[in-house]
C-alpha cells in the first residue's frame, strides 16, 4: 500500500480490539488501549496471546459480571488518556464513585480480580468513608451483616476508663453462679434417675483426650469426670486443646499444670443446652501459640471464639456454657490472684468426703494407671505436686462430690 492509500483508510479500521468473555458467557470487544489498562487483561494478551479474536476471548474472573465490566471499562476509558490533569482525574473519580453500596462492593471485588489497583484504592476509600463514624447497627444495616454475636461477645474490649476488668469478671461470675445454682436444683432430680454407667476404658479416654480434634463425649458420669479431674491435676500432661464433655451436670474445672504454671481449662457443657451444637471451630488462639512461647491453650466453647484479654471478662452465659479466661499473661494472673486469693482453702480433701471408698480406690487405681501411661515419671511428679500444690499461683477450682462449685472467696458457697 502506498502512503496515499494509507491516509485514505479510516482511522477506526486500524484500531485493534480485544475480546473479553464474562462468566455468564457473553462476549464483547473492547478497544485495546482501554482494556490494556487492566493489568490482568494486559497479562493475558501479552503472555498468553489471548483476546485477539472471538474464539480466543479472554475469560474474565467470575467476580466480574457484565454490569461491573462496563463500569470498569468506563473508568479505564477515562484514565488511560495520558493528557488529563490530576484535578480532572480526581473530579471524575468523585463522580464515578457515587453509587449504592451493593454496587460499590461488587465493583471492589471485580476490580481486585482484574488487579486494577487504582480502582481498588478508590473503592476502598469510599467504603471506608461509609463505615467511618457509624454505629455497629448502622453498619450492619448498610452491609446486611448478620448480627450473630452473643451479648457477651459484643463486649467491647476497648471500652475505656471506668471498666475495671476485675469488677466485670466478678459481676459475671456472680451472675453465672446464681444461674447455676438454679439449674442445679432442677437437675439434681433428673440426675438421680439418669445414672448411666459408662464403661469406656481408659484407653478410649486416652485416645479421646490426646486426639487432635475435640470430640463430643456423651454421657459421662460423675465418676469419669472425677477421674479426669484427678488425672489432670496430678500429672503434667498437656491435653489437646479442645475437649468437650457433655454431662448431665455443669461442671467447671480448672486444673493447674505444674510444670507450666498455667491454667488449663476444661469446659463442661450441659447436655441440654448444646445437644445440637455446631461443630467445633479450631481454637484461633492456637495460631498465637506458635508465637507465644507459653502455651496458651484454651478450650473453646462450641459457639464462641476466645478473645485475648476478654477471656478474663467472659464467662458463662446462656445454657450454662462455661468458660473462664485463660491467659498466660501476668496481667491476667494478677487479676486472678487478687480475686482468687483464698484458693488455699480449697483442696481435694473435700472431694473425698462424699465418695464411696471402694469407688475411690478404683478411681485411684485408674488414675495411677492412666497417668503412668501419659507420664512416666508419675510418682516423682506426684510427690512434687503434693508438696507444693497449694503454693501455686494460678487459679484453682475444685469440685465437690455433688458437683457444686467452689470458687475463690465467694461466701455464698459456704
Amino acid at each position: 500500500m502506498s502512503k496515499v492509500d494509507m491516509a485514505v483508510i479510516k482511522p477506526e479500521m486500524m484500531k485493534s480490539y480485544i475480546w473479553l468473555q464474562t462468566a455468564d458467557g457473553s462476549i464483547q470487544q473492547v478497544e485495546q488501549e482501554v482494556a490494556m489498562f487492566c493489568p490482568m487483561i494486559c497479562h493475558e494478551v501479552i503472555q498468553k496471546g489471548m483476546g485477539s479474536s472471538k474464539n480466543y476471548a479472554i475469560s474474565l474472573p467470575q467476580r466480574v459480571n457484565p454490569a461491573m465490566l462496563s463500569l470498569i471499562l468506563d473508568y479505564c476509558r477515562f484514565h488511560q488518556v495520558p493528557g488529563r490533569s490530576n484535578k480532572e482525574r480526581k473530579s471524575f473519580d468523585e463522580k464515578f464513585i457515587r453509587m449504592d453500596t451493593k454496587r460499590l462492593c461488587e465493583l471492589t471485588s471485580a476490580a481486585d480480580s482484574l488487579q486494577l489497583k487504582p480502582l481498588v484504592d478508590l473503592t476502598s476509600r469510599a467504603l471506608a468513608r461509609i463505615i467511618e463514624g457509624k454505629s455497629p447497627e448502622e453498619i450492619r444495616e448498610i452491609f446486611h451483616l448478620p448480627d450473630d454475636l452473643t451479648e457477651e461477645e459484643k463486649l467491647e474490649p476497648l471500652k475505656n476508663t471506668t471498666d475495671d476488668p476485675r469488677i466485670r469478671l466478678l459481676n459475671r461470675l456472680y451472675a453465672k453462679k446464681r444461674k447455676e445454682l438454679k439449674e442445679r436444683q432442677k437437675l439434681k432430680n433428673i440426675e438421680v434417675e439418669e445414672e448411666r454407667v459408662d464403661d469406656r476404658s481408659v484407653d478410649d479416654l486416652l485416645s479421646f483426650i490426646n486426639g487432635d480434634n475435640g470430640v463430643l463425649i456423651d454421657g459421662f458420669t460423675d465418676e469419669i469426670a472425677l477421674l479426669l479431674e484427678r488425672i489432670v491435676k496430678f500429672s503434667s500432661v498437656v491435653f489437646a486443646s479442645h475437649v468437650s464433655f457433655s454431662t448431665s451436670m455443669p461442671k467447671y474445672l480448672l486444673f493447674p499444670c505444674s510444670h507450666l504454671g498455667e491454667v488449663r481449662e476444661f469446659c463442661f457443657a450441659d447436655s441440654k443446652g448444646i445437644k445440637n451444637s455446631k461443630s467445633k471451630k479450631k481454637n484461633r488462639r492456637r495460631k498465637d501459640q506458635q508465637k507465644n512461647t507459653s502455651a496458651n491453650e484454651a478450650i473453646k466453647n462450641h459457639n464462641k471464639e476466645p478473645n485475648g484479654l476478654n477471656q478474663v471478662c467472659h464467662s458463662a452465659e446462656v445454657g450454662q456454657k462455661v468458660r473462664a479466661g485463660v491467659g498466660a499473661t501476668s496481667n491476667l494472673h494478677d487479676v486472678k490472684d487478687d480475686i482468687f486469693d483464698n484458693k488455699n482453702e480449697l483442696d481435694d480433701g473435700d472431694i473425698d468426703d462424699e465418695i464411696d471408698p471402694a469407688l475411690k480406690e478404683k478411681i485411684d487405681r485408674e488414675v495411677e494407671d492412666f497417668a503412668r501411661r501419659l507420664n512416666s515419671d508419675w510418682p516423682e511428679r506426684m510427690q512434687e505436686i503434693l508438696s507444693f500444690g497449694h503454693e501455686r499461683k494460678p487459679v484453682h477450682f475444685s469440685l465437690n462430690g455433688n458437683g457444686s462449685l467452689r470458687r475463690y472467696a465467694n461466701s455464698e458457697q459456704r
Binding site: A128, I139, L145, E153, P157, L158, G308, L309
Partner: protein, 421 residues
C-alpha cells in the same frame, strides 16, 4: 445466600481489600468492626498499620483519665492484635514519658516493626529504650521530643531509609555514626538541635532537611542528593565561630551534590554559604537544579550576593527562582560596590530555562534592583517576575516601580507583577 437483598455484601471480599478498607479508618472504628458479626471478629486484628492519634482519645477534663484511657486503648489493641506490625504511629499531646511506652516498643521490636513514628507531648521527654535499637527491620524512624542514646554496640539500622529527629536529645557523635551506620538512608530530617556540628556521610541520601542551630555542616558524601531544605539559626557564638573559619562553606556544603534538583534555604543559610574564602570556579555544575528558593538574603552583604550569583550561574536548567530579601533600608541607601554590576558581573550567562522569578520582601535597595535588572536582561524564556515589597517600605515603592519600568527585558512575554498587599 437465601434472599439476595439480605445477603452479606462485604464480608466475603478478600482479606487484602478488607485490610485496605480498615487501614483507611481511624483505629477506633477499625477495632470496633470486631463486634459487627462473627466473621468480622478478627478482621481488624491482622492489620499491619496501627496509627494512634488524637482521635483515639475520649476527651474529658480530667487529664489523668484521658491519659489512662489512651494507654489502656493502645495496650489492649496491641494485645488483641495478631501478626506482624509494620507501622506504628503515635501522635498525641496527651501522653508524655510513661512506662507503658517502653513496653509497647518492646512488643513492637518483637513484631517486625518497620515504621515507627513517636510524637509525644511537651512534658518530660521520653527516653528511648534500648529495645528500639534491636528493631532490625526498621525502615522509617520519626522521633519527636525524645532522648536518644544508642548503646555502644549499636552499629546502625541497616534497612533504615527515612530518619526524622525533631527536638531529640542526642550527642553529635551518636548522630553522625547513626547516619553513617544506615547505608540505605534516603531521607534525613534533623530539626532543633543546638550547636550541632555535623558531617554527613550518606551515599544514598536523596532528601535532606535541616533546621536548627548548626555550628557547621559538611556534606561529605552525598552524591545522590536530590532535594534539600536548610534553615539555619544563628546565635552570636556561632556567628563568631564562622568569622574565624576560613574554609569555604559553599564548597563544603554544595560542592558534592551534582544531582541536586531543589534547594531551599531559610534564615541564615545564604550567610552560612558566604563564609569562607572563595576558591574561584565551582568544580561542578548543577545540571539538574530546577528550583531554588533562598530566604532572608541580605542584599547589603556583597558576599551573599556573590553566593546567589554563583549558584544560579552554575545552574543552566534553572526554572524557578524565589528570593526574599532582608535588608535594612536605612543602611543601604548609599551602597558600596555598585559598580560590581557593570564591571565584574558575569555578563555572558543566560538563564535559558528560567520561567518564574519571585522576589519578596524587597526594600528597594540598590543591589536588589540591580539584581532584578540582571535577571530580566538575561532570561529569554521568562514568563513571570513578581515583586512584593517589604511591608515596612511605604515611600520607596514608587521609586521601585519607576526603576523597574526602565529595565530591559530579554523575554518578550515576561510579565512583571508588582504585588501590593
Amino acid at each position: 445466600m437465601d434472599d439476595v437483598m439480605s445477603r452479606d455484601l462485604i464480608s466475603d471480599l478478600p482479606q487484602s481489600i478488607i485490610e485496605s478498607i480498615l487501614t483507611r479508618l481511624p483505629i477506633r472504628d477499625a477495632v470496633r468492626t470486631s463486634i459487627l458479626s462473627s466473621k468480622w471478629r478478627y478482621k481488624w486484628a491482622t492489620l499491619t498499620q496501627l496509627v494512634f492519634d488524637e482521635k483515639c482519645v475520649i476527651l474529658s477534663n480530667d487529664r489523668c483519665k484521658v491519659e489512662d484511657g489512651l494507654v489502656n486503648f493502645i495496650t489492649r489493641t496491641l494485645f488483641l492484635h495478631q501478626g506482624p506490625i509494620h507501622k506504628f504511629q503515635l501522635t498525641t499531646t496527651h501522653l508524655q514519658c510513661c512506662p507503658d511506652i517502653d513496653q509497647w516498643l518492646l512488643f513492637l521490636s518483637r513484631n517486625d516493626i518497620k515504621e515507627l513514628v513517636l510524637e509525644l507531648g511537651e512534658g518530660e521527654w521520653f527516653r528511648v529504650p534500648s529495645c528500639l535499637f534491636n528493631c532490625k527491620k526498621l525502615t522509617r524512624l520519626d522521633l519527636f521530643r525524645c532522648e536518644f542514646d544508642p548503646p555502644p554496640t549499636f552499629k546502625g539500622f541497616l534497612c533504615l531509609k527515612s530518619l526524622n529527629l525533631h527536638q531529640v536529645l542526642v550527642s553529635p557523635e551518636a548522630i553522625e555514626s547513626l547516619i553513617s551506620g544506615c547505608p540505605l538512608l534516603e531521607s534525613l530530617a534533623l530539626s532543633y538541635f543546638d550547636s550541632l556540628a555535623l558531617t554527613i556521610r550518606a551515599p544514598n541520601l536523596k532528601f535532606l532537611c535541616l533546621e536548627g542551630e548548626f555550628k557547621d555542616i559538611c556534606l561529605e558524601n552525598t552524591p545522590l542528593l536530590v532535594a534539600m531544605s536548610v534553615a539555619m539559626y544563628m546565635t552570636d557564638d556561632i556567628a563568631e565561630h564562622f568569622e574565624q573559619s576560613s574554609t569555604c562553606n559553599f564548597n563544603r556544603f554544595l560542592g558534592g551534590v551534582p544531582r541536586l534538583e531543589r534547594l531551599i534555604g531559610h534564615i541564615y543559610f545564604t550567610k552560612f554559604l558566604s563564609i569562607g574564602d572563595d576558591l574561584g570556579r565551582l568544580p561542578i555544575t548543577y545540571a539538574h537544579l530546577k528550583v531554588v528558593e533562598l530566604n532572608q538574603v541580605s542584599f547589603e552583604d556583597m558576599k551573599e550576593i556573590l553566593v546567589v550569583l554563583r549558584l544560579i550561574t552554575n545552574s543552566p536548567n534553572l526554572r524557578e527562582l524565589q528570593i526574599s530579601g532582608s535588608s535594612n533600608t536605612l543602611a543601604a541607601i548609599d551602597a558600596p560596590d555598585l559598580d560590581f554590576w557593570e564591571d565584574e558581573c558575569p555578563s555572558n550567562c543566560t538563564f535559558k530555562q528560567l520561567r518564574v522569578v519571585r522576589m519578596t520582601d524587597m526594600s528597594g535597595v540598590p543591589h536588589e534592583m540591580e539584581f532584578i535588572k540582571f535577571l530580566l536582561a538575561n532570561s529569554p524564556a521568562l514568563e513571570t517576575m513578581s515583586i512584593s515589597p517589604c511591608v515596612y517600605v511605604m515611600d520607596g515603592r514608587l521609586n521601585m516601580l519607576i526603576e523597574l519600568l526602565r529595565f530591559r527585558r530579554a523575554s518578550a512575554q515576561a510579565e512583571i507583577l508588582f504585588i501590593q498587599d
